[in-house]
């Protein structure tokens, strides 16, 4: 089969943006093993980060050019198993089985060999041309763990390369091994399980061979024994009887062990993994338990301390936000000054429609740039540093209990913190939650988090013209509201909530390339979603303005704005514009009043009410689209509607209550 890709007659494997690649390689492995670092080392800057076709799972693809060969590398999601616990697991196994990459590189963590080999063993069931990269051998050696990689290669029957990806060590050898493997495409040997399992696999194999199943026969047999729903469905279409037979055989295993068959299989695989690990690991000094004096342990004594831990969470997140907005505001001003030099920012509305449109589009572009570059980008960069260092998982542990009250668990802190930057990538990151209910709940709460655009409004109206304490009070009120609304939503939304089960990686110095990649992955969605919305929306508003729809709309909204919220009639239109981009509320106000000294036109209570309403009423149009793409239009609109009602309701109450003493 070698060199099949050379003729270019075959269509490329799977949907890809990288054309003319000779070979396709997949990187597979657990999370936190340095898989992304290895990927970055191999591919350099030629990366495309997107989604798996039709799935809400991220897909990273890159190009490796080596010795005149063009090799496409797919970074599969970090997973622990090939059961159907998550979409990531399904996507990965389907890619390896159905797209048949020319080689699969299994990146494993030298410090946690058993658990990593557990996954390797499952990869071997799929029988792709396999290569193992034992990564982070330097860290393992610091812990006193030495791994005999030659022995490991011998026991598994596949090539093994030791690496320290973050330092680039072993990458050249790895690249050679990849090329060699892709050219030869050898089938790895079979690792046998216990007798009672193997006997039953053998009973299924001959019958499965008569069918045309796209998966390897042994893998199919094992998955049928595990009663894997996806596999049962595929086989059932061709041969109902064999599924019944597998089910019976699985029942026999269950009676023998008194355990569900999946658990028996996991134990079986771990037995093999333990045996292999015991043969290749040399430990000095021999220690079974956790390392008590390690750096991670010492840091965790503070990070997970009942008091200091919470203080650390508060200081880190608070500091992150304060730093972002103090520094961001400065940079934002500089960029705006530069951009206004280049193009007309607020010219008179004259001439053809094209001119008006251009004017709107350009101001939308300026707004996008002055928001993304100074605020969102630095915020996400720092967050990615925290994430890669391992601290974010500690925050998740500390806040897990609180998240439970909202039907979520600790991992939800990631989307919620991201929300302070921009709600769009935050909504996407809700995918890390396990159950559909938790995904939806997390996304709903994310939309209540004041993003940078809303922070600009809060600081620009309240922080500047009332005082900073009222601005902070709005933030505090927002958190309180999230807790209350979250609690109610948890009770109303149907579905199950799954508890936290999360790996706690050791702390390590963040890798620049991983941080850059993560930041880009998140900021990119802003470019695809937020920029177009800003540009098109702003152009549309410009037209709206030119045509003279201002007064009719204001009058239409007057019952709400004037009577219920106690605001000047002119504010109505700003709230409509705010749907496109929240910080437009403040810009439109400046244009309408012809001044930026809002205190001259609005009372402190009115300023607070506008900020409060802007903070809460529907997410902006970009977020509405993202919610629709992740959860469907019905839910997206339901969330938007709930928030309009909530914002207007609370705005009116705030107007009446604050009026009592301000």
């Amino acid at each position: 089969m070698s060199g099949c890709g050379e003729c270019k007659a075959c269509p490329p494997k799977g949907e890809t943006k990288i054309k003319d690649a000779e070979y396709t390689i997949a990187l597979a492995g657990n999370a936190n093993v340095g898989k992304s670092v290895t990927f970055n080392q191999l591919t350099g800057v030629d990366q495309i980060i997107g989604n798996w076709p039709g799935k809400t799972v991220e897909r990273a693809e890159g190009l490796l050019q080596y010795k005149g060969h063009r090799i496409r590398i797919i970074d599969l999601p970090g997973i622990y198993s090939f059961s159907t616990y998550s979409l990531e697991e399904l996507v990965s196994r389907d890619f390896i089985a159905l797209e048949q990459p020319d080689a699969v590189v299994n990146v494993i963590d030298a410090s946690a060999l058993e658990r990593n080999l557990f996954f390797t063993i499952q990869l071997l069931e799929l029988a792709p041309p396999l290569l193992i990269s034992v990564n982070q051998i330097d860290l393992a050696e610091k812990k006193g763990i030495t791994i005999d990689t030659e022995k490991l290669a011998e026991l598994l029957g596949v090539p093994v390369v030791p690496t320290v990806a973050i330092k680039g060590k072993g990458i050249a050898t790895l690249t050679d091994a990849i090329l060699d493997l892709a050219q030869r495409r050898p089938t790895p040997p079979i690792l046998r399980y216990g007798k009672e399992i193997e006997e039953r696999i053998e009973k299924l194999v001959p019958r499965l061979e008569q069918l045309t199943i796209p998966y390897p026969v042994r893998f199919t047999a094992i998955k049928l024994l595990e009663r894997d729903p996806a596999m049962v469905k595929i086989v059932k279409e061709q041969d109902q009887a064999i599924v019944g037979m597998a089910d019976r055989l699985a029942g026999e295993i269950e009676t023998m062990h008194g355990e569900s068959v999946c658990v028996v299989m996991s134990a079986e695989r771990y037995q093999v993994a333990d045996r292999i690990a015991a043969e290749v690991i040399t430990m000095y000094p021999i220690s079974e338990g956790p390392q008590k004096k390690s750096l991670t342990d010492r840091l965790d004594r503070v990070a997970l301390h009942p008091l200091l831990g919470y203080l650390a969470v508060f200081l880190v997140i608070g500091g992150l936000l304060v730093w972002t907005f103090v520094v961001g505001a400065r940079i934002s001003d500089v960029i705006q000054t530069i951009l206004v030099q280049i193009g007309p920012y607020e010219p008179v509305i004259t001439g053809p429609v094209a001119g008006i449109l251009w004017n709107g589009a350009f101001s939308g572009f300026v707004a996008g740039v002055t928001l993304v570059i100074p605020y969102v980008l630095p915020f996400y960069l720092l967050l990615a540093v925290m994430e890669d260092s391992g601290y974010l998982t500690r925050i998740a542990v500390m806040l897990d209990r609180g998240m439970h009250k909202l039907g979520l668990h600790g991992k939800a802190v990631i989307p919620l913190i991201l929300g302070y930057g921009c709600n769009v990538p935050a909504c996407f990151s809700c995918r890390i939650m396990e159950s559909p209910k938790q995904k939806l709940l997390a996304a709903f709460l994310v939309t209540l988090i004041p993003c940078t655009a809303r922070t600009v409004v809060i600081l620009g109206l309240v922080g500047k013209f009332v005082n900073i304490w009222w601005a902070l009070a709005l933030y505090a009120f927002d958190i309180l509201l999230i807790i209350i609304v979250g609690r109610i939503a948890f009770k109303i939304v149907p579905g199950e909530s799954v508890g936290l089960i999360m790996e706690m990686p050791d702390y390590h110095v963040p890798s620049a390339s991983v941080v850059a990649k993560q930041t880009w992955a998140r900021t990119k969605s802003l470019i695809w979603f937020v920029f177009p919305a800003y540009i098109i929306g702003s152009a549309a508003i410009q037209v709206f303005y030119a045509v003279g729809l201002l007064n009719p709309v204001n009058n239409l909204l007057a019952p709400i704005t004037v009577f219920w919220l106690g605001l000047p009639v002119i504010v109505g239109i700003t709230l409509i514009f705010g749907i496109v981009r929240k910080e437009l509320t403040i810009l439109t106000l400046a244009v309408l009043f012809g001044s930026t000294n809002f205190a001259a036109f609005l009372t402190p209570v009115q300023l607070i009410v506008i900020a409060l309403v802007s903070m809460l009423y529907i997410p902006c149009i970009s977020v509405i689209f993202v919610l629709a793409s992740e959860f469907g239009w019905k839910r997206s609109l339901a969330i938007s509607f709930t928030e309009i009602v909530l914002a207007i309701g609370l705005g009116g109450i705030a107007f009446r209550l604050l009026g009592l003493w301000m």
């Binding site: 059961s83 946690a112 557990f118 009676t255 658990v263 771990y270 965790d300 542990v397 936290l500 089960i501």
Partner: protein
């Protein structure tokens, strides 16, 4: 001393000990609504039977034998509460008193049947954990199969405790995991298979996640899930 009377004493000592480390005479008197003098009398009685250790003015602590009885009664009490609320639909406020009377009279067979019928619940209606039974099985599914074949599993001689009760220096081997099969699957994929040695490195405050060390890696596990992971820990110092 009547059986019921004795069991009530052991139960309240068990509760007080969990809260304060030992049970003071006055606290027991208040808890059972009896005179302190008769408490002292009863404690001496229980001490002679080898169920408690009693130091005047210091209070009482349960011996291993006393604890076993107290835990069995607690388990029966909570199972009965689940039965009364879920099956008989009796108001949750009333079931405690009712269960208090019934817990002393039901047999081991009834306890086992209740557990099977209620599908091995992990908590009582008021949220307190229901301890594991003391049969020599590795999980609840086994109990069900054995019920079909008619064999009664032999009593277990190991010391089975939830992983959340492991002390910082303790180690235990996973004996069985109770709960949703997807969760069990997830845990075993991450290395928590039967017989694996585990230890608890940290417990987050206020019943937050438990940090478990297994196969050279650390996992943060939700407290409610961790409570259902039972380990065999012969040397665990129980407090």
């Amino acid at each position: 001393m009547a059986q019921e009377h004795m069991e009530e004493y052991l139960e309240s000592i068990y509760d007080l000990q969990k809260m304060d480390g030992s049970a003071k005479t006055t606290a027991i008197a208040k808890c059972l609504d009896v005179a302190p003098a008769s408490v002292t009398e009863s404690l001496r009685n229980l001490e002679r039977k080898g169920l408690v250790q009693y130091e005047p003015y210091q209070g009482a602590t349960l011996t291993e034998a006393g604890r076993t009885i107290a835990e069995r009664i607690k388990r029966r009490h909570r199972l009965l509460e689940v039965f009364l609320t879920d099956v008989l639909k009796i108001n949750r406020e009333k079931v405690h008193d009712e269960a208090c009377k019934m817990e002393h009279t039901i047999s081991e067979e009834t306890e086992c049947a209740l557990c099977k019928m209620l599908d091995a619940p992990s908590r009582c209606p008021h949220g307190s954990p229901i301890g594991p039974c003391d049969k020599g099985i590795t999980n609840c599914a086994e109990c069900r199969t054995e019920a079909e074949t008619g064999e009664t599993p032999a009593a277990r001689e190991r010391k089975i405790i939830p992983i959340t009760d492991l002390g910082p220096e303790d180690k235990g081997k996973i004996a069985f995991i109770r709960g949703d099969c997807r969760i069990i699957q997830r845990l075993s994929d991450l290395g928590l298979t039967l017989g694996t040695t585990v230890s608890v490195t940290r417990k987050a405050p206020m019943n937050g996640p438990v940090e478990v060390f297994v196969r050279r890696t650390k996992l943060a596990i939700d407290h409610a899930i961790a409570e259902n992971i039972f380990v065999d820990a012969p040397r665990a110092g129980r407090s």
